[in-house]
């Protein structure tokens, strides 16, 4: 700021706020676009299945339009500087997921894979609930830094949520070999979906507080900075916990995501590549050991290596998934014209991507990956912009956890890595995951609002000489 001299005795003019575009109108247009894409896909499915447009196309359009308008207004009012792209992209993927669940419903109903009436109507309710939870976060979370205060409580609750299914009897917690559920009455919840958010918050607060100790106090051995023994504590605890999940819940996906997020955040806090290598070695050796002991994990690794070894049994789903992707080719078969439903169980959850691959083709799949990548990159950009270190760690942690989940799930059904059993974010059928993901987006919106919100103007120093009290 150029120093201009202000004549003594003259009043200092009120500093004007630096202009930062809020970009809310961009968000509104993009939201409309997301809505149109979803409705177009829905109409497309109706045409392909029955030759007619779905009768409730207009009604649904208005209803979802109003819901999106509501969250948009909430963001406009309570997070005016928020990133304008994250919300529409999330809404678009959610809408596409709804259509795909609706498209798979006839087969799943006929085969008793979903309740009568279909899964799509439930998912629509979860979507509205998710948007509501999103709105609540945006309205009531005044500042993301408040969460920093509850770091240790977050850790406790988060660990509890992730660990809970492991200690509950299998009758309540086990679905298809993995114990990651709590099923009571007609309800089932995957608490790990929420637990992961709390743990990311804890990691952000904890690692930010301990970063100096972790980063600086280390010995250099063979060009790598090795952590001190006592600093190994947290990483070992996390590792042990990840292994526990793996052993007790036989849930490779949650375990991998949980530990992966931790190692990435540890690296962000310390900038020490050695942590990364150390963490990776720990996980791989631990997972290998567990895989050799746990039949469930071993089967998944084996199916990954030999996906056609038992096409009517263990490797059936993966083989069917690959058939679906292959049949989609470059342009896809078109919505409702594929046969991915043959995957059977979880064709609308963990394996949802196979339907995208078959019916929308490589083009549609790539577009979807780009949409996911946009959320991740926007989250990381928020981390770069936000000013407080906790916010940086938190936003980057959320974004990279999201990226990990997409990679672990997509990689599993596409045979990049062994199948692990995570739902595809926003796309998959399931209330817990959908709501947790909307909370994640809500948090990112809040942090990005803080990041882009201009600082309250500093009171400028005047050139006037310090007044000396003259006697």
């Amino acid at each position: 700021m150029p120093m201009t001299s202000i004549p003594a005795g003259q009043a200092v003019p009120a500093p004007s706020e630096p202009y930062v575009p809020k970009r809310r109108n961009v968000e509104a247009v993009l939201l409309l676009f997301a809505l149109v894409i979803g409705l177009f896909a829905y109409a497309n499915v109706g045409q392909a299945a029955t030759g007619k447009y779905p009768s409730n196309l207009a009604t649904l359009g208005v209803e979802f339009g109003l819901a999106l308008l509501a969250v948009h207004l909430v963001v406009r009012r309570f997070a005016p500087y928020a990133d304008p792209v994250i919300l529409p992209v999330a809404a678009m993927i959610n809408g596409l997921g709804l259509v795909l669940i609706y498209r798979l419903d006839p087969y799943n109903e006929a085969n008793n894979l979903v309740a009568k009436g279909g899964a799509a109507s439930n998912q629509a309710i979860y979507t509205v609930l998710g948007l509501a939870v999103f709105a609540v976060i945006v309205i009531f979370l005044k500042d993301h830094r408040i969460l920093q205060r509850y770091a240790y409580i977050s850790a406790l609750v988060g660990l509890f949520m992730i660990a809970l299914p492991a200690v509950l009897p299998a009758s309540i917690s086990e679905v298809n070999g993995a114990r990651s559920w709590i099923r009571l009455g007609g309800f089932s919840v995957q608490p790990a979906e929420f637990g992961k958010l709390l743990l990311v918050s804890f990691f952000a607060a904890y690692l930010h507080a301990k970063r100096d100790a972790l980063a600086l106090a280390s010995r250099r051995v063979l060009g790598l900075y090795l952590p001190r023994g006592r600093d190994l504590g947290p990483i070992l605890v996390c590792w042990a916990f990840a292994m526990l999940i793996l052993i007790r819940e036989t849930d490779l996906g949650v375990s991998l995501m949980f530990f992966g997020a931790f190692v990435i955040m540890l690296y962000m806090a310390t900038e020490r590549t050695s942590w990364l290598i150390f963490g990776l070695l720990l996980f791989v050796s631990g997972a290998t050991a567990v895989a050799n002991m746990s039949a469930h994990v071993m089967v998944r690794v084996d199916s990954w290596l030999h996906p056609f070894s038992d096409v009517t049994g263990r490797t059936r789903q993966l083989a069917q998934s690959l058939y679906a992707f292959a049949n989609g080719g470059l342009f896809g078969t078109g919505l409702d014209r594929g046969y991915s439903y043959q995957i059977g169980f979880a064709n609308n959850a963990d394996f949802m991507l196979a339907t995208v691959g078959e019916e929308l083709g490589l083009l549609g799949l790539t577009a979807l990956f780009i949409a996911y990548a946009i959320i991740v990159v926007r989250g990381l950009k928020t981390a770069l912009l936000v000013r407080d270190p906790y916010g940086k760690m938190f936003a980057a942690g959320l974004a990279s956890t999201f990226a990990l989940q997409v990679f672990i799930t997509a990689g599993g059904v596409m045979r990049v890595i062994p199948l692990t059993g995570l739902p595809m974010p926003f796309l998959a059928y399931g209330g817990s995951a959908l709501m947790a993901n909307w909370i994640l987006v809500g948090l990112l919106i809040k942090i990005s609002d803080a990041a882009r919100r201009p600082l309250p103007p500093a009171i400028p120093l005047s050139d006037e000489m310090t007044q000396v009290v003259k006697a």
Partner: protein, 493 residues
Amino acid sequence: MNRPIKKVAIFCLALFAVLFVNANYIQVINASSYTSHPDNRRNLIYAFQNPRGQIIVDGKAIATSTPSTGTLKYLRQYTNGPVYAQATGYYSVNFGATSIEKAENPLLQGTDSRLATQQFLNQLEDKGKSGGSVVLTLNSKAQQAAYDGLANVDPGKEVEGAVVALDPKTGAILAMVSAPSFDPNSLATHNTTDEAKAANSLAADALQPELNRALAQTYPPGSTFKIITSAAAMDNGLNGAPVDENTVIPSPLNTLQLPQSNSTLSNDAGETCGDTTLINAFTLSCNTVYGQIGLDLGGTKLQTEAQKWGFNTTGPSVPMNASTSVFPQNISQAQAAQSAIGQFNVRMTPLQGAMMAATVANGGVMMAPYLIKQELDTKGNVMSTTGSKQLYNPITSAQAGELKDMMVSVVQNGTGTKAQINGVQVAGKTGTAQRGAGQNALAWFLAFAPANDPKVAVAVLVQDNNPNAGDVYGGSLAAPIAKNVIQAVLGSQ
């Protein structure tokens, strides 16, 4: 802290890049290996997505595609299924395709490259894909007569058998039946439970209904082989003298002692033959005379003659492949005598039998047998017509004329009188092939008619497993069936 965040951003984008590369790999580069996997039901679903072409006999479709509800849009249906089962084969959801359904699958399915332009134009007209059709050479009346004939040999008993009828001048297959038969509709159903049940019961059936005995099974020819032994005698002469139908063959009355063995050959029903003419020995089917000819000629000359008729060469493809008919090599004198009357290790398919009769009928020229008359495009226009093709020329027309006289004599006053037809001169040869102890003999009859202008040549094989069947002579069991088939062909012209 921004530097590591940027690195994490690069890492995350690298994860997406891996997904993108892998998507290219499984959706484009390596896609065909997944699409062609036999477990992938999409091929099947797509195969049943469009109407399959018809299989047509005498202008009537015997295999059609009808719209169906469910994932598979068209159901394959067979009219008169068991009668045509061996010709059409089946097109099953889970058990693949056989016979014509398999051999002509690209055309019937519509994937044949010759249909590409038409399919493209159909698509433009929004008509969707459809298959081309196949017209068979079968004569529906002859086919039905052959089927009924085998079914009525010993109703309710375990009768196996086969009938093949050919147009001797072209090689077109006019009838092809194997008994027992099966209903291809039972395998074409979309109900996988019923389908599996049908497949299991077919597989468990000791009589192997799926086996096409007409082409795929060889049997000892018995006395029908005397046609070839006669031809060998005419070709080579006997004891330095030329042989024709009236040549007297010196031979024992009732029993021929085989050299270097304790075995003997005797005549059926104790007929006395003795020094008699070739035509007389043929008419009465004298084993002693033909055994003696075998001894005089030796195994090598018999083998050479048999090979001129197609023995020991891979059987023709009609387009289903026929098994190879076999004449044993390097045989002893005793074995030569037995082989000369179609015993020992001589084996032939019923198709080979029909081709032998057709060769005599056609002046010594054996035509290649074929089942597909025409291939039609999706609009029913003829795309290709099978032309007749000479396969072998084992005998001269003069020799064929003499063999014809001999075969006429068999039906007029020999073992084949049951094949006589009023007003039509039928030529034939019976065969009653002995098998192992406790097994009924095989009844054969090879024939063609009318003798002066042959329109049909036929081979009938009956294997009656009923232990109380009584006399199972070729002349009694097989000849009447051949007669009915001949009448059906002549009557429909």
